[in-house]
Amino acid sequence: MSRDPTINAAAAINEALHQAMAQDERVICLGLGVDDPKAIFNTTAGLQQRFGAARVFDTPTSENAMTGIAIGAALAGARPVMCHQRLDFFLLALDQLVNNAAKWHYTFGRSVPLTIRLIMGRGWGQGPTHSQNLQAWFAHVPGLKVVMPSCAADAKGLLLSSIFDDDPVVFLEHRWLHFAQGAVPEEDIRLPLGKAAVRREGDAVTIVAASYMVVEALHACRALETAGIECELIDLRTIKPLDWDTVLASVRRTGRLLALDTGAATGSVAGEIVARVAMDCWGALKAAPMRLALPDCPEPTSYALTRRFYPGAEEIVAHIGRMLGLTRLPLEHLPERHVHHDVPGSWFSGPF
């Protein structure tokens, strides 16, 4: 039975989980709420009915032990997929992730085939502890792979690759992207980890982004195109290991870099990209590299305080305009803003 060729990323993730579990009985899926009526934003829907309560199960509210239990099960032959409704909750499990999962292969020579799905919130008053984008923390730890899909097809292809990868993978899902519609192949598709995608080719500026910032960058690129400016947009897909070959080759060609990040600026992945480009491409640069990230400030809850909190397509256009010395910015070619800044679309009525 075939389905609509266009589905959203939440459905794509669900399809990837179904296909992984159907293919390999070692795949187990656990997490608080995987079998509840909301099924982690529908991403785990139908799994327990199809694969049984032994392989798909709800857990105690014990993030740290459950992560260690998943690592132990992985070492004993399972291929666990853990699901957390917010990245912020998972911080309790950093001991197991950092001290065990990340170090195990290097220290003991045995692999830990574990995928940890973490959802990063934004908007509708998610506030200081439900919306953190801490990808840089994970990327900092040797031994982890860190994946950040930006669209529905990538969510499926990267999740399948993550599940069948033999290393621990932190799979970061931006909550707004769950709603992103796109053409997703029905069959088992695998996208290589550690390989970026060039979303648009251009010679004016290299824009490097991941996850939700790819969406904002695409809007910015389309607007700039109307002014005759072609940007190269690199979607990292995986931030650790990072596809430096693609990034550096592009910057050597364009001579300009704007690195985008969904996390706070200090210590960000975007900062790392600026540093590496400055060190390795200095001679090719025509302008100082720039980065656009979140302020070094907790995300507030109030509708008013978040209004200018998140940089988007407008700020991207403005940064590139500054880099290129544009006298006029083609802002009128950006899609019309929907009425409320704190939702992914006007159809959304909250809560998350």
Partner: protein
């Protein structure tokens, strides 16, 4: 069995004493946490388990590794940082592993290996095998949140986990009395979490073996997780080869009292044999130990340019 128990305990004691004796040579350049005084638990549990049963342990794991059948040469070489070490020199004394002996790993963070053992048990249950998982922990680890979380899940799923808690009364220099209320026992906590708990004389190897054998049988029968609190005592310093009683963190006479209850002497008396028996058992062990140290000293270091190898199992395309 009783001979095997004594042999295992004596071997652990002699290995630890040789490490202590040679540590000042500065060739074992990593922290060591010796188990002298605590040999009975490791020997009794090790013998009650099958090689296919999987154990995990802590920073103080030499005894558990050896009791479970871990390779002595690979352990000593690991302490020397050599390529022939059980982790190729990447882990040192606090990261021992011997897959063939069913010793999955020891890890160096208090409480950190507890959920790993529970996870192994989950997979054992899911795959329907009749092996069990054994988690060695100390009294300090019962103060970590992860112990409660792990015990809760083990009880919830009736997992085949044997929690072996060596209560040596100290977390580094901090006595249990400063860390937990004296109106509450570790066993009562374990019971209330849903574990079947028993407190044992951790220096009585034979009694512990009998208890452990019963516990293992009930675990194989699917009767749910068991917690054994083994009362024992660390003779030497927390980390390093020396005695440190002069620091005054333990009441005067406490060490002497526990040394008077040496698990090796206790078992010898039970066996009705004396020092001649002990010497006869010791002779081949001494040879084995001398050979392990000689091999470790002679072994090559890992290649310096291998330092970045194996961060991942699967390298990425780029």
């Amino acid at each position: 069995m009783i001979e095997a128990l004594f042999q295992s305990m004596l071997r652990i004691r002699m290995v630890e004493e040789e490490i202590a004796r040679r540590y000042p040579e500065q060739q074992m350049r990593c922290p060591v946490h010796l188990s002298i005084g605590q040999e009975a638990t490791a020997a009794a549990i090790g013998l009650a388990l099958r090689p296919q049963d999987i154990a995990v342990s802590t920073h103080r794991s030499h005894a558990h590794y050896l009791g479970k059948g871990g390779d002595l040469n690979a352990m000593i070489a690991e302490l020397y940082g050599k390529a022939s070490g059980c982790c190729g020199g990447r882990g040192g004394s606090m990261h021992l592993s011997d897959e063939r002996a069913g010793f999955l790993a020891s890890t160096a963070i208090v409480g950190n290996s507890i959920p790993l053992g529970v996870g192994v048990a989950l997979q054992q249950q899911l795959s329907g095998v009749d092996t069990i998982s054994c988690v060695f922990l100390g009294d300090g680890a019962t103060e970590e949140g992860v112990f409660y979380e792990s015990a809760n899940f083990a009880a919830l799923r009736k997992l085949p986990v044997l929690f072996v808690c060596e209560n040596n009364l100290y977390s580094v220099y901090s006595p249990l009395s400063k860390r937990q209320p004296d109106t509450r026992s570790l066993c009562s906590v374990a019971e209330s979490l849903g574990l079947s708990a028993r407190r044992l004389d951790g220096n009585d190897a034979l009694a512990m073996f009998d208890e452990a054998a019963q516990a293992v049988a009930s675990l194989r029968a699917g009767e749910g997780p068991v917690f054994l609190e083994c009362m024992t005592y660390r003779w030497r310093e927390h980390c390093g080869p020396h005695f440190d009683d002069e620091l005054g963190y333990r009441p005067q006479g406490e060490l002497a009292a526990w040394q008077g209850r040496d698990p090796l002497d206790t078992l010898l008396q039970r066996m009705g044999v004396g020092m001649a028996y002990r010497a006869a058992v010791a002779a081949p062990i001494a040879e084995e130990i001398a050979s392990a140290f000689a091999a470790a000293e002679a072994a090559p270091f890992p290649l310096e340019n291998s330092v970045f190898d194996g961060i991942y199992r699967m390298e990425c395309a780029s």
